[in-house]
Amino acid sequence: MKHSFQKILSFVTISAFTLLTLNACKKDKSAEDVQLPPEVKDHNLVLKFKAVIDTVPLEFGKSYQNFFKQSFSVKTFKFYVHGIEMINTDSGKVFRTGADKYFLVDFSDSTTTELKLAVLPYQYNRLGITIGVDSARNVSGAQTGALDPAKGMFWTWNTGYIMAKLEGTSPSSTAPGGVFEYHIGGFKEPDNVLRKPVLLFPFGQSLDLKPGKTSEITVTANIGAWFYNPHDIKFNENPVCTTPGVLAHQIADNYSKMFTVISVVNE
């Protein structure tokens, strides 16, 4: 009798304990549409960005040529990413990672070029990303983390985030000092330069996330794409774009095509 009472007691103790643990640090975040299984703790997908110029990896300060055979070298290359979506076009399933989580991919800071994501284990064949910062975050005052205005991606005199930034020099540039500066931003219509490219995976490859395993996707960001298709951007004609408007839209159209998934590795 005593023995079974003890058993009951220990059962009650354990279940009460478990309940407490589960509720202890509950955060009511509803960013994820789907509840992640418990084995996806921190992240199970690494999204790696690599900066390239057409086919070669970017080296800051080294001279390259654009589509128009104009030489240039790069000093700064960074952009905001959020709203990452894993898509299966066969089943129509879409998994959205925390839409409110922003990343600033800055190729001069290698800690920022690998995004660690928690994704529902499943098979996916497309990757959707949003380049830039949503209008809501442009109008809600002081932000922190990746959106800290100290990151140099914020216009102080005409409030708004710079969605993507490319700076350097070119002998073809007509700007003082031969510099070029593309600070692409604008969140109010009709100047909203948010772009949402959906990227295909290399032929025959798919993201196959297995419970308890981690996969890795590598995406190249091609600076060469900034200068053509569909809009011609030449250093002698448009060396500077630092305000929202038509030119910013054209450059955003171009760079929205700069991404290529070059590999998907499933563990």
């Binding site: 304990f17 407490l20 005052g141 922190t144 100290a150 102080t156 005199w157 305000t243 929202p244």
Partner: protein, 347 residues
């Protein structure tokens, strides 16, 4: 046996209480910051800025006040916010058309008075800044104002002996970020309310206008109040008042923000509260006295495609009108807020 389950029960209770406390940010004995109330003056609308998202506290306000008066926020240490926003001038820059910034540079516009900022929906003469919290970033980083990099400011504040403690007191964590600095500055600047002029006392039934002031008020209501709307004495709109472009500044106003030609040379309607101590006037400070401003409206308005319909045919103001209007404008000076020790430089 009894001992065994007593122990297990005790252990359970201990763990449970530990777990319950594990999510609290700091030890329970510590007292959090003291909440501070934000009072909307009688007759004022609800403020645009909502302190719900940035809870106003004594400690946050105190930190913001120290930051506001601290030259550390500028590149060479010489230009605190308060260098262009002086309390005795209603937090405008006393007797300066343009202000002085880093490296002997002039600002491009007249420093506005800082009061009732919580009711503004946009900031600066051109309205380019859409939120009170991010407003300080413009003067902090402008090369002709405080000229500092936000990262450097944070480094300087972290290295200071006092700031980590003040941030801890205000936000429950000694970590210093630009966001917390901006929230604290907002608590201070957003709390500066001016609503105790003679005009306000008359409205509250505590005083009455002299006959000259009353006449001036009538003229004001007839000829000025459609833009300088009570009780803020601005309708917060952008208008071109027919001031010719000033050579050397070539300031196109709001068009710089919107890129729209219809916004060319439009500037925000300034509040007339505390108008007398905040001279000179106009976006570039070209009018030295209120008389100069009234002369502009009665005789000087230059025509142009974007000049406001309300002033394009000038505003008929006799010499007597101007006298009475001036008497009324004197009643808009709130000397109590200009002397309020809560807003003054901390000792």
């Amino acid at each position: 046996m009894t001992l065994r389950w007593t122990i297990s029960l005790f252990l359970f209770l201990l763990t449970a209480s530990m777990l319950i406390n594990s999510c609290k940010k700091s030890d329970t004995n510590r007292k959090g910051p003291t909440p501070l109330a934000f009072t909307v003056p009688p007759g004022f609308p609800q403020p645009v800025y909502d302190f719900k998202d940035n809870p106003l506290t004594e400690e946050g306000f105190t930190l913001g006040r120290k930051l506001f008066y601290d030259g550390k926020l500028s590149k060479d240490g010489n230009f605190p916010c308060a260098s262009c926003h002086q309390q005795f001038a209603a937090f405008a820059n006393f007797d300066h058309d343009l202000s002085h910034g880093f490296n002997n540079l002039f600002t491009k516009r007249n420093s506005p008075g800082l009061f009732n900022m919580a009711w503004q929906k946009e900031f600066m003469w051109d309205g380019g800044i859409n939120h009170l919290e991010v407003q300080p970033l413009a003067p902090l980083t402008a090369p002709n104002e405080m000229a500092e990099d936000v990262n450097n400011i944070i480094i300087k504040l972290k290295a200071d002996s006092l700031y980590p403690k003040l941030f801890d007191a205000a936000f429950g964590n000694p970590e210093i970020t630009s966001q917390k600095m901006l929230l604290a500055l907002t608590q201070f600047v957003g709390s500066i309310v001016s609503a105790n002029s003679k005009y306000d006392k008359v409205k509250r039934g505590e005083a009455s206008f002299s006959s000259e002031e009353a006449t001036g008020y009538q003229i004001f209501q007839a000829k000025c109040a459609s833009c300088h709307a009570e009780p803020l004495f601005t309708d917060l709109s952008y208008r071109n008042t027919g001031m010719p472009l000033k050579v050397g500044l070539m300031d196109i106003g709001r068009m710089r923000i919107t890129n729209k030609s219809e916004d060319s040379m439009k500037f925000k309607v300034p509040s007339l509260r505390n108008v007398i101590p905040s001279f000179p006037y106009g976006h570039d400070g070209r009018f030295y006295t209120v008389k100069n401003v009234m002369d502009h409206y009665s005789d000087g308005v230059q025509s142009g495609p974007t000049v406001d319909p309300l002033v394009k045919n000038k505003i008929p103001l006799s010499i007597f009108d101007k006298f009475y209007l001036t008497q009324f404008l004197y009643t808009l000076t709130d000397s109590s807020f200009m002397k309020d020790p809560r807003y003054s430089e901390p000792k």
